[in-house]
Symmetry: C2
Subunit: 492 residues, 2 copies
Amino acid sequence: MGQQAAPVEETLDPQDWSAMRALGHRMVDELCDYLSTVRERRPWTSVPPATRARFEQPLPTSPRDPAEIFNEFRAHVLPYPSGNIHPRFWGFVMGTGTPLAALAEMLAAGLNSNVSGFDDAATLVEAQVVAWLRESLFFPSASSGLLVSGGSMANLVGLAVARNSNAGFDVRAKGVQAAPRPLTLYASVETHNSVRKAVETLGLGCEALRLVPVDAEYRIDLNALRAALAADRVAGHRPFCIVGNAGTVNTGASDDLHALADLARDERLWLHVDGAFGALASWSPALRARVAGLERADSLAFDLHKWGYVPYEAGCVLVRDAARQRMSFDVAAAYLAPARGGLAPEGPKLSHLGPQLSRGFRALKVWMALQEAGFDKLGRLIQQNVAQAAYLAELVRAEPELELGAPVPLNVVCFRYRDAARALDEAALDALNAELLVRLHEDGIAVPTYTRLRGRYLLRVAITNHRSRRADFELLAREVVRLGRELLASRG
Amino acid sequence: MGQQAAPVEETLDPQDWSAMRALGHRMVDELCDYLSTVRERRPWTSVPPATRARFEQPLPTSPRDPAEIFNEFRAHVLPYPSGNIHPRFWGFVMGTGTPLAALAEMLAAGLNSNVSGFDDAATLVEAQVVAWLRESLFFPSASSGLLVSGGSMANLVGLAVARNSNAGFDVRAKGVQAAPRPLTLYASVETHNSVRKAVETLGLGCEALRLVPVDAEYRIDLNALRAALAADRVAGHRPFCIVGNAGTVNTGASDDLHALADLARDERLWLHVDGAFGALASWSPALRARVAGLERADSLAFDLHKWGYVPYEAGCVLVRDAARQRMSFDVAAAYLAPARGGLAPEGPKLSHLGPQLSRGFRALKVWMALQEAGFDKLGRLIQQNVAQAAYLAELVRAEPELELGAPVPLNVVCFRYRDAARALDEAALDALNAELLVRLHEDGIAVPTYTRLRGRYLLRVAITNHRSRRADFELLAREVVRLGRELLASRG
């Protein structure tokens, strides 16, 4: 066997483990320093041109000392975050993360598990996490679930199962083109764009997604929904699914999910609920009623990297009928067939529940984060964010130069600055508030973002941040008034 | 503003940062110990019932000390990995990871960036990584690319762009049901099941995926492909895409990608190449010719968490025509519209290139890993794995009781034990090798997996492991013979 001289064999393991260990300690120290002082820094700073140019260096051919790579990270990456770990970041809907969950990611990547349903501990960790999430959202214990990258993928999975289960023919084999009647599904105009994206990806075409008007509180108009269903049935379409919202992205509104569940039952439709952040209101006994009925969904999409305070990426999809989820994604292959024992015996395969075959160990950070806080405290923090939203709304109502733009049913506040003299028209108010938002970011004050509701440009504050305090919202209200006046004055 | 007493506000930040810091140090130490001694342990061990039961504990309601959670991890998770970090793991196609990349995951999760195309450093890191990958695979600099969870998602994205670009009508708006003629696409029977899964998810129906026979070397039969195309055109179908393979999962075969690119050009078809692991053979000048032509693909899917040695999850998709990728996934939303400045100004949005809106900072581990090794060394390691496969094939050929089951064009070796007396029939050989595989796992010797080729059960060794040495393959060959004899003897 060994006539020829064995070649020199290389590895990517460090030659000097003690140097790698020391670097790891430095990284932990740096990260703890960074996170414990985050309040002292600006929420966001534009990347300067010199740093930008660093990221145009050519492909590295030779090895580089890890400590040097870390120094470059410290100098050029760490100072320019997107800002969502800061106590005054309330843009889009972004999470905060926790230090322990960040450490967990290191352990997960070191163990480097491919969480596929093997006979290994990582698979058990994910099963336990999914069981906890199921229980915390009052889903039946026989339902199935899967951790995914986030709400977009959770919506894609839920709607794929809806399509495959309720189209009335074998979609997996025949494709949407074989539909005897055009498939249609229903959601309010306030539904997140990831639902539209999923509908397009699934080959249904976005025209199949009927966007139903909302009431004054931005909830789906049930009469309009019934009318749309009836019209489509008359026109020979095949309605197969309703998408309900637990917490819309623009205002935090939740549809009447019990009414949608009743309607879905009566009309034999699949009920998918997008609860990206709103579903987790269920973790607070005080808030649970605001998203009541989500436990009746056939499929439920939600994130842990938003209101679950877990770092990116962590979302989840639950499906009431476990067999239907499996029947949407199980594709056999000779090289994946179970063995009689060993690492990969017979048993449920997680890749049969969603689009990914290889799956990382994101369950570990969720497992550690949920245990560290416990669900009671997580529920209190969610309630705290909702109380902060109510408090900000109160500050806005109390200030004549501020104006609420929408009801505040949960953790999202839409408002704007308006001149005390009421002299500006809508277009001028839009322009002024747009400028004001840029100033809030660029002056390092706070990061809300914006939306448009009924034509109006509104500052939008979405609170899924465990570092925010009431004083941060007082500062925001104060600074918006100050900047509004300043911008007004500069207009002459 | 503050008449009422402010409530006590909670946070998830640790009360005691020094304890968190100390725990982080302990975790780094533990991980370095664990990884530097991995060779001394068994590749895989079944999870014992007592540990299994630990993961059935109910939902945690109260907080728990992070150090205690880590202790539970040490006792019940760390000892039971899926095994792919071990030098003698060659199952499925799984990666090994590196210590620095694991540390990078901690930093990424601490920074907790949502890599969306904001004015932040994380977006620049991903852009740089994609530029390096593009250059390393000889894709044009104007092509676009995106890091994704892995090959399954990369195939889904590539095929979604193919469908949306080349169906001849507006699939995003109208859906697959509006196809004037049934859409069809083509791939060899050796194509990975994630392609079928993507085709089903995209609403095309797996019957639209024409599985073309392979030649003796498991490469797509070009004459059969041409015949299938012609027959479908005669039947009134609309062929829109060919899927080529750079490294099939069963044997590591690569289709003639130049021939497929020529054919795609002549027939106006999209060429998608699944190069999950095989694409990275391009990183070795010595191996590049084996996957020649992949740089002509319209879209290319590949993983970094396999042969790139980066921890899970890290895949990538490249699309030659950047506009077509964007036109497949850009869905507008009022709350996401760019501002005039600040964090989220005008500019390319990464969520417009794939299904995810929120995207984690997986680019950081890739950025650090590629720099630490440099592409020259990565190319040598890939070549080393190919040389190890050739060496194992040589050992198999030299041993009368072992039999190669397929050619070894890259890094995958399929072989089996067979009795010296040649008395066993095929069914008995299948059963014996199946039992032998379980023994290899359960005795803690090594973790190959298996596949079936032309009806035969074969042990399958896929080498994407930077810790493996030639001696490990010598041990494997020796142990397979020993176990084979032992199992033969026990049959009486």
